[in-house]
């Protein structure tokens, strides 16, 4: 039979594809189909948007300006201070958490564990049991970090006395905050709350914090503070993606502060303790980077007609996003489950759903979006460096621009994909890829692996529908 010139696409059920193959036809391409979370209503709104040239033009202009603002940010570490002194709205009885708003009863294990640990740390209770009683008596209030110019990795718990990095976006004058990263293993951000964990937090407050505060003051005196953007762009060319891999960035940071550290009148013992603490924690830089991203993204909140997201965060139960053109509105859906590599003795069955504010990295064009430049990271998904390249390439399809400073050497120094656009997400049927750590679902155990996932599509569909309805 002469069928060479017939080129068939089978859109939908695989059964039809097999039927073509059974007839001996070779030119058949099977295209699996899924609604990608879209309902009939979504499709109707896509139609309306696609036929409204005026709106498309307004959205385009708004998005171009948002990408420009994200690109021109100048995040500097300018101080380190206890939370209650700097974070807007911070109080003794308030605890901040990662992700979209959530009630204590609904929270996941690691987040509950971390909160109880923080209450004891603050001296509001003598032990974990008493801490829980306080919570159930509603004596403690909760609020998302994102509502207070703050971000927190994993459980993202911030309480009043915790020292936080103060990052200032020098270009726009706004501030953002994040705690000091505690290290790996049993740590509060993964829900651990044993005496050892709390002791480390106290050491951070009593020993590390005063030292770093003086270091930062010297840096500010010398050159406006620590330039986070420069460190990030260098680290990206050294194999970090600055979300799940911060080895190079942490070393660069240590190198940056060493001259100031040496100048300080502190004992050799303290000096050694501080240096050891930083250099033994390959994620030390993560929180600094997150605060820098937060100070970058907050600037675009409220840009009319912009369909670019300025928040993507998970609380371990739900993932939530916020869109520049729809300020302060969360769109949430059930958090996804990362696919990843587990520490020995743990499996996917032990894993908590996706957790943490660290996806602010992807929002600002690093993390999984910069994976092509971080081939070592793909071991988390059992993939090859080629996969890392594919993921980054795919993200260009759903972003509005590229980063001017964060460049990928093997893409001929093309910038990383920047400005996640909900309209492109809906039209392309692709959601942002996320790199993440994996917490045990029981409180107190800590990190059990790391992995990767596509953000669930539903929150983007809701945001898209609201966006078009708002501006149509």
């Amino acid at each position: 039979m002469n069928t060479e010139n017939i080129k068939i696409v089978n859109l939908g059920a695989k059964w039809f594809y097999e039927s073509f193959i059974n007839q001996g036809i070779k030119n058949v391409f099977h295209l699996a189909w899924s609604p990608q979370g879209k309902s009939k209503k979504t499709y109707q709104l896509i139609e309306k948007f696609n036929s409204n040239k005026t709106l498309q033009h307004k959205v385009h202009c708004a998005n171009v300006s948002v990408v420009e603002k994200l690109n021109s940010a100048e995040p500097f570490v300018v101080d380190i201070e206890q939370a209650y002194k700097v974070i807007p709205g911070m109080r003794k009885d308030l605890i901040l958490h990662a992700g979209p708003p959530i009630e204590y009863e609904q929270m996941c294990g690691p987040m509950k564990g971390a909160i109880l640990g923080a209450i004891v740390y603050e001296g509001l209770a003598n032990d974990i049991t008493e801490a829980e009683k306080k919570v159930l008596q509603k004596k403690i209030k909760f609020s998302p970090c994102h509502h207070h110019n703050t971000v927190g990795p994993m459980a993202g718990i911030v309480s009043a006395s915790m020292p936080v990095w103060v990052v200032k976006n020098l270009k726009y004058g706004n501030y953002a905050y994040a705690t000091i990263n505690e290290g790996l293993g049993k740590v509060l951000r993964f829900g651990a709350n044993s005496p050892e964990v709390l002791r480390r937090l106290k050491w951070i407050e009593k020993t590390l914090f005063p030292v770093l505060k003086k270091v930062i003051h010297l840096a500010v005196k010398n050159s406006h503070g620590i330039n986070v953007k420069t460190l990030t762009s260098q680290a990206l060319t050294m194999g970090d993606e600055c979300h799940n891999r911060n080895v190079a960035a942490t070393n660069l940071f240590l190198k940056e502060i060493l001259p100031y550290l040496i100048e300080l009148p502190i004992s050799k013992k303290t000096f050694l303790e501080v240096v050891k603490f930083i250099s033994s924690n390959p994620h030390f830089f993560l929180n600094i980077s997150m605060a820098a991203c937060k100070s970058t993204a907050d600037v675009v909140e409220g840009t009319k007609y912009s369909s670019i997201i300025y928040t993507m965060a998970r609380n371990g139960v739900e993932i939530g996003i916020r869109v520049a053109g729809l300020p302060k509105q969360w769109f949430t859906t059930t958090a996804g489950m990362p696919k990843g590599l587990y520490f020995s003795g743990y499996t996917e069955k032990d894993a908590n759903p996706d957790l943490g504010d660290s996806t602010i990295s992807e929002v600002c064009g690093i993390g999984a979006f910069a994976m092509a430049g971080s081939p070592a990271i793909v071991k988390f998904v059992g993939g090859s460096p080629d996969d890392a390249v594919k993921y980054t390439n795919e993200m260009y399809k759903i972003t509005y621009g590229t980063h001017q400073t964060y460049l990928i050497p093997q893409f001929n120094f093309r910038g990383t994909p920047l400005g996640i656009d909900i309209i492109k997400i809906i039209q392309e049927g692709i959601t942002p890829i996320i790199n993440t750590g994996i917490a045990h679902k029981q409180p107190g155990i800590g990190q059990i692996g790391a992995g990767i996932l596509y953000a669930p599509v539903d929150c983007f569909v809701q945001a898209f529908e609201k966006f078009v309805e708002t501006y149509l």
Binding site: T3, I8, L11, K38
Partner: protein
């Protein structure tokens, strides 16, 4: 009954139907799997399978309906195991395929949920619009052919799609198009037949335009089985000749077949067409066409007119095929039952005091045609899809007097594969009819071809044997076999197997209906 939700995944409905059956047998209880679309949730609700948990499921969530005692972990693991077989590549999120495939494709088969067809097909047409390509002879003089198997597409959307397609030189077959044979390639449920595209190099043949899937299958198989040749078998979708659609695809197809040098004559088949549209069609053909057109339109009254210029009205598919084959000097030979045989059968049945016929059809066109033929012998018959609305059976689940059932009716197929694939309901109903003491004859169709049930003999023979026992071998079983010797199931083997087990087999649906009519009339 409980619901379990597997969030953020999507599987096509055919796969889920197969999986539902597999799981039901593995766990020995009824398991139903459906994606959480609004339409599906309504279906589950009607069947009493939806709980408040399932009610909240979204389009991307899989709803698992199962008895309370089913272990959640176990069933989720089984689903993971089976879906892994379906997508063997990896369980890491798959990267998107390049959608530009439509820039090179010229034949597209669409089988996605009906509510999304309009938007997806529109996107494809717009892609074609942006390409600078010429209409091609090999694509029925169009830039692209789109075959839409999906049903439940709103008729307004069908109209919009077909008009947009026409403007852009794209031919749309469907929606609700069960069968097509384009350039020798079978789409949907098609039979393997002789075409001018075979390497044997046949010079000319018959072109078919059909609004009915099994209608097209029956016509092409009959032509093939007599030694005739097909040029194209174009499916139009079941509503093409309705007032609203106005025969857009039919007229586009006529234009092509009229210009195609290999097509000698054309058969047009439809159930219940709009009178207005048929008149438009006849005017078009008589004004612009020179070839012979044979119109086989079930439920259309031509006011006694048999012929208008080059248009002939044939009452049945058999008559249409017979007329078309004459152009090639071929005589059509339907199965004949001799008068003495008929008398013998009548005598035997009379003794049992049984009176009524029950028909169980998997093909909608065949079902309508059988009722039309039977009407001449015994008047209107009851049905779930009667020709005369006064003869609708009060309950879809109970037959009364003479009843002919279309098993492809939505009421029977919701959440199940087409009755041409899945025989379970037909088997159930066959046994039920066999226990009715008033039933004299049970007639049914067996449709073969790509995509149809691969082994109807294995599926049905045991049930027929059991049914015969239930009625003390008093009921007469008749079957029409639609298919060819080239089909994977092989019509010869199927016919022989059923004949051996005491089923009277026919090569034409009309021949079977005539025989049954003659018998039942005399009871």
């Amino acid at each position: 009954m409980k619901n379990i939700i597997k969030p953020n995944c999507f599987y096509d409905s055919i796969f889920l139907m197969q999986l539902s059956e597999k799981l039901s047998s593995e766990l020995s209880c009824k398991i139903t799997l459906m994606m959480g679309t609004e339409a599906n949730k309504m279906l589950l609700k009607e069947q009493g399978l939806l709980t408040s948990l399932g009610q909240n499921a979204k389009v991307n969530d899989l709803i698992i309906c199962c008895p309370d005692n089913v272990n959640e972990g176990e069933i989720l693991e089984l689903i993971t195991k089976h879906t892994f077989e379906q997508q063997p590549v990896s369980d890491v999120p798959t990267l998107q395929v390049d959608k530009d495939i439509y820039a090179v494709a010229n034949l597209v088969s669409v089988s996605i949920p009906g509510e999304f067809v309009y938007y997806e097909v529109k996107k494809i047409i717009q892609k074609v619009k942006s390409q600078k390509i010429e209409p091609q002879k090999l694509l029925l003089n169009h830039k692209m052919c789109i075959f839409i198997f999906s049903d439940n597409v709103p008729i307004e959307e069908e109209v919009k799609l077909k008009q947009l397609a026409k403007k852009n030189n794209v031919l749309i077959m469907g929606p609700d198009c069960g069968t097509a044979i384009i350039n020798g390639i079978g789409l949907g449920f098609a039979n393997k037949v002789r075409t001018v595209y075979d390497t044997a190099g046949y010079k000319s043949g018959i072109g078919i335009i059909s609004a009915g899937g099994t209608g097209l299958q029956a016509i092409t198989s009959m032509i093939h089985n007599c030694g005739g040749v097909i040029t194209q078998g174009i499916g139009t979708g079941s509503r093409d000749l309705s007032d609203k659609v106005g025969g857009v695809t039919t007229i586009e197809s006529i234009k092509f077949l009229e210009s195609d040098p290999t097509t000698k004559c054309i058969i047009i088949f439809s159930k219940q067409p709009s009178k207005k549209v048929v008149n438009k069609l006849v005017n078009y053909i008589t004004a612009y066409c020179k070839k012979q057109y044979i119109l086989s339109l079930i439920g259309f009254e031509s006011n006694g007119q048999k012929k208008i210029k080059n248009v002939v009205f044939a009452e049945t598919t058999e008559a249409a095929v017979e007329y078309a084959l004459k152009h090639f000097g071929i005589k059509f030979k339907p199965t004949v039952v001799s008068k003495t045989e008929v008398e013998q059968v009548v005598r035997k049945l009379k003794k049992t005091k049984r009176k009524y016929v029950r028909g169980l059809y998997s093909g909608g066109s065949l079902c309508d045609e059988a009722m039309l033929v039977l009407k001449r012998y015994i008047g209107d018959v009851y049905s779930n899809t009667p020709l005369n609305p006064n003869y609708k059976i009060p309950s879809a689940w109970e037959s009364c007097e003479h009843t002919i059932i279309d098993l492809g009716d939505d009421i029977y197929t919701r959440g199940k594969p087409h009755p041409m694939i899945d025989f379970s309901f037909r088997k159930e109903r066959l046994l039920k009819e066999a226990q009715d003491k008033s039933v004299a004859v049970i007639m049914f169709d067996i449709v073969l071809g790509f995509g149809a049930n691969p082994d109807p003999v294995k599926e049905l023979l045991a049930v027929i044997k059991h049914a015969k026992k239930l009625c003390n071998n008093e009921i007469l079983f008749c079957a029409v076999i639609v298919g060819t010797e080239l089909d994977p199931q092989n019509v010869g083997y199927i016919t022989k197997s059923f004949s051996k087990s005491g089923v009277l087999t026919f090569n034409s649906n009309v021949a079977m209906a005539k025989f049954v009519g003659e018998v039942v009339k005399n009871l």
